[in-house]
């Protein structure tokens, strides 16, 4: 199994990460936001010399280095002469450094990378590849690897169809935990791309999409169960699709990342599932979901046709498996969720 592991971007963090586990096949980190940017929040913006130093260190440990430049919106700048020149210059520098792979989201950048450079071209989840047809298009553009849209992590027929259609490698993101069929997905990543890319940066009041995303789960906690994460114990069900898995979480502390690495490497986690999930970390102190309570759920999801109002399995599972924390500090209690009150 090959685990791609998030790295926050500074040398000390990388040292701690690579000294903390022997189960890391590759690390990935954001590059400089001055050229392409990225569709996620970042803790760092490493300069080229820092990327070079960290790449050398990763390689000395036998670990591959991937740079993520997966902006989902560049406002058309990539198609201007100045934009092209800046991006091409940056890719050339990364190539010289010896970066193993670059993750990008824009089809134009996919083709540009594949045509002119030797680095592996990884198609980001932010390209939303969720069908064999899309996968085929990206492979034709030059993709070496496609990170499949997690929205189809529990659509085994689609995963198998994608696997059978393309010969490039596939990678699955295991712990993103975004809402299933999230209505904010495109808008939110476009917002991130501008906030974490070349200027002008938007001076926003609040991240509306994130507030709403959390609110929807608080009002209807079954949404946490429906999110298409993959439990460590369920990796075995995906090994006929790929042997390559990506852990999300570029904005977390190294100990959080290492906890995830060990869980997925050992294919087992005894504890709160919320500890492993990336995008809803703020709810870690609200909900407690004993991971063991979810044993066997994958069997339902393998045959699930995703017509929730007829099925109700995830709702029943949420009522059984989700607890809410009450109190704080030493005086904290776990209260069973019980029947989910849908206030819609």
């Amino acid at each position: 199994m090959k685990l791609y592991v998030p790295h926050v971007g500074h040398f000390e963090g990388l040292e701690e990460l690579l000294n903390g586990s022997d189960n890391i096949y590759a690390v990935y980190m954001a590059g400089s936001p001055d050229y392409i940017g990225t569709g996620r929040t970042n803790l760092s913006a490493p300069k080229l010399d820092e990327i070079a130093e960290q790449t050398e260190y990763a390689h000395s440990k036998g670990v591959k280095m991937e740079v993520v430049l997966n902006s989902s919106c560049m406002g058309g700048q990539q198609l201007t002469p100045e934009g092209y020149r800046a991006i091409d210059w940056y890719f050339d520098k990364l190539n010289t450094i010896g970066i193993d792979s670059i993750t990008v989201a824009d089809p134009y950048i996919v083709e540009m990378l594949a045509k002119d450079y030797d680095m592996d071209v990884v198609v980001s989840v932010l390209s939303f590849v969720d069908t064999p047809q899309k996968a085929e298009f990206y492979e034709q553009l030059g993709a070496t690897t496609i990170v499949v849209d997690p929205a189809v992590n529990r659509h085994f027929d689609k995963l198998e169809a994608i696997r059978d259609t393309v010969s490039c490698k596939l990678k699955l993101l295991v712990n993103e935990a975004c809402l299933y069929q999230c209505p904010f997905r495109y808008a939110h990543f476009n917002f991130f791309s501008h906030a974490n890319g070349p200027g002008p940066k938007p001076n926003v009041l609040d991240d509306y999409y994130y507030y709403k995303c959390l609110s929807l789960r608080i009002k209807d906690p079954q949404q946490i169960i429906k999110s298409p994460w993959i439990r460590p114990e369920d990796l075995k069900e995906y090994k006929h699709i790929t042997d390559t898995f990506k852990i999300g979480g570029r904005t977390h502390f190294v100990n959080w990342i290492l906890n995830n690495v060990e869980a997925y490497a050992n294919e087992r986690y005894d504890g709160n599932l919320m500890d492993l999930l990336d995008s809803i970390k703020d709810l870690k102190d609200t909900f407690y979901i004993p991971n063991s309570e979810l044993d066997g759920a994958i069997e339902q999801w393998k045959k699930c046709d995703k017509v929730c109002h007829k099925c109700g399995y995830c709702k029943r599972l949420a009522e059984k498996a989700i607890y809410t924390y009450s109190g704080s500090g030493d005086d904290i209690r776990k209260i069973p969720l019980g029947p989910v009150g849908d206030r819609k």
Partner: protein, 128 residues
Amino acid sequence: MSMTQELLKARTSLENNLRELLGIPVFLIEMDAFALPCGCGGVTINTRGLQLDDLEIFEEHILKYLTDTVTSLEIEPSFLFARLIPGTAEVASINARILCSSCYMDFGRGSGKQPRPDIYIMRFDRRE
């Protein structure tokens, strides 16, 4: 009790009251005491899962809980308001603010519950 212990206790108590009232696990993600250069001071409570509808329907109850909470922190409950994400029903925070004379004039000139798209006033004691 220290100030931080008071805040911890107040956060938990208010969260429990809101959850019981609304029937959903509303999350008070952070409670901060603040002091501004202008002279305003108070407390702000960042919320997740609370919506404008909740405030409007249960305002009487929420106002009582909030008043009790801020009074327990020795903050005068003269100006209690929610900050909204403009144009949406999402409540970003609920706040108690002791207004300085300059900020009082700003708010005092306005009328109604929403003087700005991001402010929903639950209580505003006008001065003589």
